[in-house]
Amino acid sequence: MLILGISAYHHGASAALLRDGLPVAAAQEQHFTRERDDSGFPTRAIRHCLRAVGAESPDLDHVIFHERPLRRFERTLVHQLKAFPRSRGSFAQGMFHWLGERLWVRGRIADELGLDAERVAFCEHAMAHAAWSFFSAPAHEAALLVADDEGEWTTTLLASGAGTSLRALSELRFPHSLGLLAASVAEFLGFEPGRGGERALMELAAHGQPRFAERFAQILQVAEDGSFSVDTTGFRFSHDARRRFGPQLEEWFGPPRLTNGTLRLAGADTRDADLAASCQLAIEGALLALARRLRQRASADTLCFSGEVARNSQAVARLLRDGPFESVWVPPAPGDAGLALGAALRLHHELDGNAPRNTELLADPQLGEDLLLSDDAACAELPDHEQVLDALLERLLRGELVGWVRGGAALGGRSLGQRCALMDPRDAAAARRQLASLKAREDFRPFHPVLLAEAADEALELPVGGRHAARFGRIAAQATPRFAEQAPAVVHVDGSTRALLVDAQRDALMHQLLQRFADRTGVPALLHTTLNGRGAPAVRTEAEALDLMQRSAMTALVVERRLHTKA
């Protein structure tokens, strides 16, 4: 049975294909259009998924969309009306989009695929998140927490999963949303929400003190029953996606920061960092209350956490450290990029309650398009993987910035070791200097390591319950003093790091490279960052990777077994 899952009109439009319950292809539209977090209809991603398995659209048994469009439209309209007449500008903008395309998505899908519209199904946005986190989890029973920005009405969902069944327990509804709160504060501080802004906000928090915690306790009120509410007087996100914060926020905290404006994070004025720290603290507090409530209603020891807020690796760490669960699982691509897979999995298990699960295969996110090689690239063809590792190691030991690109694209747009730039993490200043030529990112933002899984205990203060999430770099942990001294380039200002644990089973080549680097230097880690151009997802082609090498301080690039060096 072939099921196609589709998510669209939200950041991270994607498509995924299941064959008899197992994911065989998944891709984000951004990978093909090269526009980060492309939110259009994922025509190219769908085409890729079908081509990857040699199928054509008539072969599809079912197609499922990641949300119920009429419920979403209802919510949008109600909140536009509630904000009357302040919503006059955003109404025309929003309705133009809805009436022009989104309301007719069933017909659009049927037309694109040449299928009968009756074969198109719809899954609740939050349940698609829950399904992806549970059916990819290394546990057969789990409590499920979805903390998202927005969907239909649900912003936060508590659910439970056992075997192949999911049960929704309770929900919080729009506009009470942790994701939208973070997005609004990120926007207020000049970051772009939905395109890494929330992550920048989390990283900025480490530089500040939560001196606005009291104010945030009023903005985000947590009730005794674990629910929360957002005081929306400071925000406009309920009716306006173009500008999420309102005048009240400016009265409380002063003027917003403009993009590229000076960031107030050090010296006498640390407003921006303190604001970020206060927001982070408030969000973590609300998540802990949710987790405690969930623990009362679901008896499992494992928490599966997904939704846009689950991309906050510091919050994941806090949930594990101070929360009531023994282990926390966050799937690869916990945000909207995983929705197509989640929707398809939900439908599969709805149709066949006895279908078996295969979590090992489900948790492999390299389901995207293979790297596109250039026919005429001038390079040295290395005879085997040994030579590849030697070429990389030799340059890394010399302190050079190198690129390494191979295999299929990972879901989520970030490198999980396959489309990356690597560096020796021992010299922080040199690493930052060289990476500045590759990554146009603010100085306050940290870089992270790939780390030998066997060395996790000596490098990180990471409870065993966070190991699975760390295999996909989804959880932050404090670096041990020894590791912080050994690898300062990958330790954040607060002593934390978000390592991608590498074991021989999932990525044998990277594991060998790390082992050899550790043998030579005593450091079991390398600085690892996604190889991408500004505003673009991880590289798609050899030519694109070469381009980045030419434009940066990168001295060598290994593409599969082809070695390119800069003249």
Binding site: E74, T154, L169
Partner: protein, 264 residues
């Protein structure tokens, strides 16, 4: 004056009159020029024609210098700028329009191509596209220069860059003519036509989409203030729901066991 330039002039006038948007626009131009410089430099390493390589290298240096000129001027203006202490009113929102990470979207900048395009298209098509882009850039920067006459230092930056743009237009034309005279006339003509056609077709599509969208939004705006007014006034009276909604006992929840065929 081409219609497209009139539109650009109308859109840009407000921006160059606003000090905050001026700074952000100059910064976005700086980034675009720097990117363009790197791309052209990268392409210079790949071309077979020695004369073209020499021009591309000079072109690279020009673009990087332009980036520096824009950056310096932006920094000068930023240091004297009182950032808005906006009250958040609708009228003041436009001051933040460029703070949403799409700084180049509002004012057309000098576009750039990745050097991968050279591999994809070949030298002739690449130079033809570069020629068309440089001609367009010269027109754009002429508009921006005219609109910044109230700010002589910013205007001088555009003046200086315009001189280089004329050289870029000239050398790309010379190279295309040289290839044309060397027996590649049909290839050059096709490439020039492709570059020009692409530009006009994009401009036509853009104009159509913009005018259609503006009309539709106008209609929706009128509907909002007439048809929806009573509903809006009614909806304002309703309280926003708070606290847990128990899904098993609330059939209105979308997360209850509703059939997956339903769109609602």
């Amino acid at each position: 004056m081409p219609f497209a330039n009139l539109l650009l002039r109308a859109r840009s006038r407000k921006i160059w009159r606003d000090p905050v948007r001026t700074v952000l626009t100059l910064e976005s131009f700086s980034r675009t020029e720097a990117d363009g410089g790197k791309d052209i430099g990268s392409a210079a390493g790949k071309v077979a024609d020695d004369e073209l390589r020499g021009h591309l290298r000079r072109h690279t240096a020009d673009e990087l210098r332009h980036a520096e000129l824009f950056r310096t001027r932006a920094a000068q203006l930023r240091s004297t700028l009182d950032l808005p202490t906006g009250t958040g009113s609708e009228a003041e929102d436009s001051a933040y329009d460029l703070s949403r990470g799409r700084p180049a979207a509002e004012v057309d900048a000098h576009g750039f191509f990745t050097s991968g395009l050279l591999d994809e298209l070949g030298e002739v098509a690449y130079v033809a596209m570069l020629h068309a882009a440089e001609k367009r850039a010269a027109q754009l920067f002429t508009v921006h220069r005219d609109l910044t006459r109230h700010d002589p230092e910013t205007c001088a930056v555009f003046e200086e860059i315009l001189r280089d743009e004329q050289y870029h237009v000239a050398y790309t034309r010379t190279i295309l003519e040289k290839w044309s005279n060397n027996g590649r006339a049909s290839e050059v003509a096709a490439a020039k036509s492709g570059a020009r056609g692409g530009h006009f077709w994009s401009a036509w599509k853009r104009t159509g989409i913009r005018s259609g969208a503006a009309f539709s939004r106008g209609v929706l705006h009128v509907l909002y203030l007439t048809l929806l007014l009573p509903f809006g006034l009614f909806a304002r009276r309703g309280a926003v729901e708070q606290g847990w909604a128990d899904i098993e006992s609330d059939a209105s929840s979308g997360n209850s066991s509703k059939p997956l065929r339903s769109q609602y």
